[in-house]
């Protein structure tokens, strides 16, 4: 028989199309030789550990004729064995398997041909496929093994036992290393003599191996232990490789051949021949020895969600969106991106990696619908590195626009939990019966971390004696401390001096008056719980003085804050309404003086408030289950809550609202400039807005649906035609208030602000249930919600507190308030600002971090950089936290600069010396602290650390932190003053991780 030698490259085409491209892998081995009759062709392969793998095995005879091979085996038969058990066989291949051929890059088979093929999904283990000819015939056949599914399981060994002839009868196996980065370390063996040990007769006496890439020979071996000619590895290395990879040992000094080599992606052929024109049976083996740790990365979750927020450099953008990444069964990912409201035309979009933001996948422009990402190696990033990056929160979506070509929208993918059908989480264990009524000092102090601006010894004593429940009752019964009133006191007591006061408001307030008032309340007010909740609400219903139109209306900002204070334990529905009709909110989100559409001018109502009301204040972007996890559609994707059409309709509802000014009938009028008249009548800026009917859109409007179904199936809520503005507003706010999302959306955020960044679904569920019904049939009772979230098992259990992922990084501003409360920081003149400008003549000129907290701590009351608050609720610092599926929103503003600037700001005050001036003013305007509570223990490190742990670290200062501080105290110079000792201990405590995190 004559055979023509073919380039087997055609049989080993790279198969990128459907195989998820990844690090290089052994994807195909084929051997062409004679089979049938006395020459049984046996191919073996081993599937490595991992999930089941689908393989395609073919025995091609007749179709080889198409390639000009004569003497082919007319009707090959294929039998698949596991050990000695036959588990499958095929005589003529099934047409239904044909798509698999194309998928792996195998040449197609003639439809009527009698070639044999099998597709089988197999568990890890060793298998053999035997090729014979029907009726005992023999001829040339090509046997191929392909991996059909990629994934983590690998083909680690392929072997073929066949007869090796001479000349054109030599054995020509081909292998393919699939495209990818890096190399694969492969061991090739041609075993002849050692086969005799296994009882095989007429073995090839002296096999020789030659490895080709195309027509170029790149390696060869004759006699593995004592090579004649070149060798790629010595006997010892080869022996070790055999042993380590389950290859049977070769008889020492035998004439079997072996090659150990690293190969990059590509197709290769081996030639196995007998030296000296010998013939005989030989076993050809290929082992993949690439170390296991180079493969195996798997996405940790099946769904990832990225909230898209404006990039920090995209000042003024109110764009938003979200992206999802779904892992498909075959290991690839499907990416969807939805976004809206870019400032300018989009230029591009990409998936990016790490802080370098290298592009790893180009996304099409516009809404991205179902783009497949195969984790193809990109640049120097291997597939494993890309998947690991996804798992550690390092893959982000970037959307770039003309105005912000470096990126306008950005968000990192974090794991998301979701389901299609809801199962209520199991109830938690009961708390110990006295957990709420008789708390220990530890329980009391950690409770106060959650419910005040910082624990004090007095508060700890009070909580221990009253118990938590009664303490909450008492707190809720106190009258609210109001910011506006406190600011008026401040400006009356400490008038702004002419050169310093910018008189940028009608009551002659400046931002430091507001801040002074805020500090005073945070540090000294009795109604701590209410104030803490109000501060949390100010991060949900955001207005910000960073917007110049808001920042010069200090009175209005103060009044707004008081709205939040008054409603902190009230009803959420009422809060929604008060916020909506607040004039300063009307300025911030531009629905003040919003008019119905004017067809002549071609204008439409402003959509800003309509969007943020839904996205940020009530329902969010995607449908939620009652426990705050995602509600998924039949395809496993999140379901949007509204679309652009909803926004446009909602914008029409919010038309006609303007300042409420006594006796005014002009929609366009603004409040009088009260600068010259003092604060006699500032009603325009302080009163709720009113609606002018003539400017209100009275058409019928289709707004948000209460159904949690895909939008094309959802029935909108109808706002009837011919209603007044307030009537329309009622329909809108009722709908949003009653939407199933609102409970979990709000509850989860309150939990995140007060207790822990990563509440369990159960915790969110329990609190949302209280939002839905406070026990007396009322929905939206914030007081009940606050009580529920503070007394919940998850908030109180010490066992839960010890979990590695429980708790939250304290907000920078709250670390300062806690510090100030513990050390009774204030200026002796009663002001909660430092007034030292270096010149005692300007003693009321406030300076420093307390006058401008947002500069010193990257956070200041009502000074968020945008309506998206200081940080995103789903921010996860890339790294171990994201890998664990946890978020830590506060870390978003504790960046590499503020990690130092913040502590610097208040430590500067702690350690500074008061200025030495002649004729110091009295009472002093310079900020001071009261260390007396700690001085008694200045020489007793243990007692001092106990105190500091109780006050600053929830009584849980770790052993290691404690010993560091104790050692430092020991190491201070012998003549160090008591005060400095105490200050050192405090300084180290407040900067420790123990004090930075509340648990």
């Amino acid at each position: 028989m004559k055979f023509s030698r073919l380039a087997l490259l055609a049989f080993a085409a790279p198969c990128v199309a459907l195989l998820p491209a990844q690090d290089t892998r052994l994807s195909n081995v084929s051997v062409r030789t004679s089979a049938g009759g006395a020459d049984i062709l046996i191919t073996g392969f081993t599937i490595g550990p991992g999930p089941d793998k689908t393989v395609l095995i073919r025995a091609v005879g007749p179709t080889l004729g198409v390639f000009g091979v004569p003497g082919t085996l007319a009707d090959p038969k294929l039998e698949l064995y596991y050990g000695s058990t036959k588990i499958a066989e095929n005589d003529n291949f099934n047409a239904s398997d044909a798509p698999a051929f194309a998928a792996v890059g195998a040449f197609p088979l003639d439809a009527e041909a009698k070639d044999a093929a099998l597709v089988a999904t197999l568990a890890p283990g060793s298998y053999t496929a035997q090729v014979s000819g029907n009726g005992g015939a023999s001829g040339v056949a090509l046997v191929e093994v392909y991996e059909v599914t990629g994934g983590t399981t690998r083909l680690i060994n392929l072997s073929t036992r066949a007869h090796v002839g001479i000349g054109t009868g030599i054995l020509i196996p081909g292998i393919t290393v699939a495209p990818g980065a890096g190399t694969r370390r492969l061991l090739f063996r041609a075993v002849g003599p050692t086969l005799g040990v296994f009882g095989v007769r007429d073995t090839l006496a002296d096999p020789k191996l030659e490895l080709y890439s195309g027509t170029a020979k790149i390696a060869e071996n004759d006699n593995w232990g004592t090579p004649t000619g070149p060798a790629t590895a010595d006997a010892a290395t080869l022996n070790a490789a055999f042993g380590a990879n389950g290859a049977f040992a070769l008889t020492p000094g035998s004439k079997d051949a072996a090659l150990l080599i690293n190969l990059i992606a590509g197709s290769y052929t081996l030639q196995v021949s007998g030296v000296g024109a010998n013939t005989g049976a030989a076993l050809v083996e290929v082992y993949d020895l690439t170390p296991a740790n180079q493969t195996g990365a798997r996405p940790a979750a099946s769904l990832y969600l990225a909230q898209l927020r404006p990039d920090s450099a995209a000042a003024g953008s109110t764009a938003s969106g979200y992206a999802t990444l779904l892992i498909n069964p075959d290991g690839t990912a499907t990416v969807n991106v939805t976004f809206t409201n870019l400032t300018s035309a989009q230029t591009s979009a990409h998936l990016q990696i790490g802080t370098s933001r290298d592009y790893v996948l180009d996304l099409p422009r516009g809404q991205v619908n179902g783009v497949t990402w195969v984790f193809a190696p990109s640049g120097a990033y291997t597939t494993n590195e890309l998947i690991n990056a996804l798992n550690t929160g390092n893959i982000s979506v970037g959307v770039e626009s003309v105005k912000f070509p470096g990126g306008e929208l950005r968000g990192n993918f974090t794991t998301a939990t979701g389901s299609q059908t809801f199962t209520a989480p199991a109830a938690p264990p009961a708390l110990p019966s006295d957990a709420l009524s008789s708390p220990t000092a530890l329980e009391a102090t950690r409770f106060l971390l959650q419910s005040t601006f910082g624990p004090t010894t007095d508060d700890i004593t009070a909580v221990m004696s009253q118990g938590l429940a009664k303490w909450i009752d008492a707190q809720m019964a106190l009258s609210p401390s109001l910011l506006h009133a406190a600011a008026r006191e401040d400006v009356a007591l400490f008038p702004n001096p002419p050169p310093l006061a910018t008189q940028n408001s009608f009551e002659k307030f400046n931002t430091w008056n507001r801040n002074a008032a805020w500090w005073k309340i945070a540090i000294t007010a009795q109604d701590q719980l209410r104030q803490r909740v109000a501060f949390a609400l100010s991060q949900l219903f955001v207005i910000s003085g960073a917007n110049a139109n808001v920042g010069d209306k200090q009175e209005s900002m103060q009044e707004y804050y008081d709205t939040l204070v008054r409603h902190a334990f009230g009803n959420y529905r009422q809060l929604l309404e008060s916020v909506t009709v607040s004039p300063i909110m009307g300025v911030y989100l531009s629905h003040l003086k919003n008019q119905k559409a004017d067809p002549v001018k071609g204008t439409s109502p402003d959509e800003n408030y309509a969007r943020e009301l839904q996205q940020l204040f009530t329902i969010g972007l995607v449908q939620l289950q009652p426990d705050g996890t995602l509600l998924l559609d039949a395809a496993g994707k999140p379901i949007p809550t509204y679309n652009q059409a909803t926004i446009s309709e909602t914008a029409k509802v919010l038309t006609g609202w303007t300042f409420s000014i006594q006796g005014n009938t002009n929609f366009f009028a603004g409040p009088q400039d009260m600068r010259t008249t003092g604060y006699v009548d500032s009603s325009g800026w302080l009163n709720p807005m009113v609606c002018f009917d003539a400017f209100h859109d009275k058409t019928q409007k289709k707004i948000v649906s209460l159904q949690q179904v895909p939008l094309d199936q959802a029935n909108p809520t109808i706002v009837p035609a011919n209603q007044t503005g307030p009537q329309d507003l009622k329909v809108l706010l009722d709908a949003l208030f009653n939407h199933p999302n609102t409970g979990p959306f709000v509850s989860k955020q309150l939990i995140q602000r007060l207790v822990t960044s990563n509440p369990s679904p159960g915790y969110v569920y329990r609190v949302s249930q209280v939002f839905a019904n406070d026990g007396a049939g009322i929905r939206g009772n914030l007081g009940a919600v606050v009580r529920a979230l503070l007394t919940d098992f998850e908030a109180r259990s010490l066992a839960v507190a010890g979990n590695a992922g429980f708790g939250k990084v304290k907000e920078p501003l709250l670390r300062v308030t806690a510090f100030m409360r513990a050390l009774k920081g204030r200026a002796p003149n009663g002001r909660f600002l430092d007034s030292w400008a270096g010149d005692p003549r300007t003693i009321y000129g406030p300076v420093g971090a307390f006058a401008y907290p947002h500069a010193g701590f990257n956070q200041g009351p009502m000074m968020a950089p945008s309506v998206f608050n200081f940080f995103s609720t789903d921010f996860a610092p890339p790294g171990p936290l994201a890998a664990a599926g946890l978020v830590a929103p506060e870390m978003q503003i504790i960046d590499s600069s503020y990690a130092l600037i913040g502590p610097n700001s208040f430590v500067n005050y702690l350690l500074r010396e008061l200025p030495n001036v002649a004729n110091p003013p009295s009472p002093s305007p310079f900020f001071t602290f009261d260390f007396s509570g700690f001085l008694a223990n200045s020489k007793n490190a243990d007692a001092l650390l106990d105190q500091l742990s109780l006050i600053f670290c929830g009584n849980s200062m770790s052993v290691s932190t404690r010993s560091r501080i104790a050692a430092a105290l020991q190491a201070l110079a012998a003549n160090t003053s008591d005060l400095e000792r105490v200050q050192s201990a405090i300084q180290l405590t407040v900067l420790s991780p123990d004090a930075a995190v509340q648990r």
Binding site: R365, N384, P405, A804, S897, N904, L911, P993
Partner: protein
């Protein structure tokens, strides 16, 4: 890699190595660990008072335009016939001829005249002063390549038109091998010997960790463009040092809670970043040159500051890396390109002025690089990924006011067009880099260590440096 000649000593290796195995695997995590190279006690760095920068000091600044800058609209044909052809090909993206800034290259001649994009006014004036040169049609090449060879698919840089791959190949200058080191890293290794006893890496990045500066023994150090912030309340000796060390130890202790751990490492890293440089930066002279308030210019300002401290840092060779994002203008290019070029132009000008002020204009060379050029033919209102691109080189030692290399045909379907005006580069990244490396001090015999593929190309110097 061959062991380099005596130009490299291992003296600084031990001092500067802080992380093992900067290889391709685990690149992401390894690179994010690169931090302070050798924490130094404050008194080891006594700032020399009013120290002048050594006369034999040189600095290279790589300004990477991330995303693929459209060079076709940077150097634009100007003579009426050529301009009309350009305008016809570019459609809506053609720049209005009246707004272009014509240039008169000293020696470059190909029958056309050229002009610069209107947003590059400062670049234009520096060009006319002979301080900026244009490099025509530079790109990644495995070997000189013809259109026929391109179509054959042989010996091409892998993954042409892919951002991450092309960026990598520009920064490594070895397109045909898996990435190991950047040419900036290799250049640093071979010239680091000129830095005797430098306490800080000569490879400084103002734009985060990058591939250009990956080397085997000289590791890059990432500088915060805002300068070094340090922990306050610890200034002084004695007790201060006790507290400071206690804090640093505390932050390095293992934490049992993931949030504690995250906070601790964030603070620890922030402290480390600030430590070394802060002492030094405090002694930097104030420059009178005003830098525009753009991210790029601010980074160049910090580079100028670092250059001014060359004596204090005891360096004679430094390599800097800065990156400007946003050039991937698939849409919105008309409105989007100008502002980016304006930022580039302003940053280059202020930086040049600063080097003049410091008296080192001839010792500092800044060069641009980018993933690739872009298609001559637009899509609706933007461009798509291309190949050969034009770059700019700036410095007193640059033989400026001229164009080097060969401008592409600028004609669709000509023999340098692989489709839609994706030009086959007429100059390789290797030749471009080799010219810079030679100026920087690499001898001809050592050039292949920095640029292993240089032997495949005709020129190891394009002649734009004096």
């Amino acid at each position: 890699m061959n062991s380099p000649s005596s130009e490299l000593t291992r003296r600084n290796f031990i001092r500067q190595t802080c992380c093992a195995a900067v290889g391709t695997t685990g690149m992401l995590s390894a690179l994010t660990q690169l931090r302070v190279i050798g924490a130094v006690a404050a008194d080891a760095l006594k700032p020399a008072t009013a120290a002048a920068i050594p006369a034999d000091y040189k600095a290279l600044v790589c300004l990477f335009l991330n995303g693929g800058n459209d060079g076709n609209n940077v150097i634009v044909p100007y003579d009426p016939a050529s301009y009309n052809a350009y305008a016809a090909a570019r459609g809506v993206l053609a720049i209005n001829r009246a707004q272009l800034l014509p240039i008169a290259p000293k020696s470059y001649s190909d029958g056309r005249t050229y002009a610069l994009h209107p947003a590059l006014a400062d670049v234009h004036s520096l060009f006319e002063q002979g301080k900026i040169a244009g490099l025509a049609n530079v790109g990644t090449l495995v070997q000189p390549t013809t259109l026929a060879q391109f179509r054959d698919g042989r010996a091409l840089p892998p993954q042409l038109f892919s951002h991450s791959d092309q960026m990598l190949q520009w920064q490594s200058s070895i397109p045909d091998k898996p990435f190991e080191t950047g040419w900036g890293g290799r250049l640093a290794e071979i010239t680091d010997a000129l830095n005797s006893n430098n306490q800080i890496s000569m490879s400084l990045s103002l734009s985060g960790v990058n591939r250009f500066q990956v080397g085997k023994s000289v590791l890059q150090y990432v500088v915060n463009p805002g300068g070094a912030i340090t922990m306050a309340g610890f200034g002084g000796g004695g007790n201060t040092a006790v507290r400071y060390n206690a804090l640093k130890s505390m932050l390095a202790d293992p934490q049992d809670n993931l949030l504690n751990g995250t906070f601790a490492s964030a603070t620890k890293n922030a402290i480390a970043d600030g430590e070394v440089l802060s002492t030094v930066l405090r002694t930097a002279p104030t420059l009178s040159t005003i830098f525009p308030d753009t991210p790029t210019a601010q980074r160049m300002a910090m580079i100028a500051k670092l250059i001014s401290l060359a004596s204090t840092l005891r360096v004679k060779r430094q390599i800097f890396f800065v990156q400007l994002h946003g050039w991937d203008l698939h849409a919105g290019q008309l409105l989007g390109h100008g502002p980016l070029l304006a930022e580039l132009s302003g940053a280059l000008k202020s930086f040049y002025d600063a080097t003049v002020e410091l008296g080192v204009a001839n010792q500092v060379t800044t060069f641009t690089a980018s993933d690739f050029g872009r298609t001559l033919n637009p899509n609706a209102e933007g461009t798509d990924h291309g190949w050969g691109n034009h770059q700019l080189v700036m410095g007193g030692a640059v033989k400026g006011g001229d164009i080097y290399g060969r401008m592409p045909s600028l004609t669709i379907n000509a023999d340098d067009d692989t489709g839609r005006g994706r030009w086959i580069p007429s100059t390789s990244v290797d030749e471009y880099s080799a010219t810079l490396a030679t100026w920087f001090g690499v001898s001809a015999s050592n050039l292949p260590i920095v640029l292993p593929n240089i032997g495949r190309f005709a020129k190891s110097s394009l002649g734009f440096m004096s």
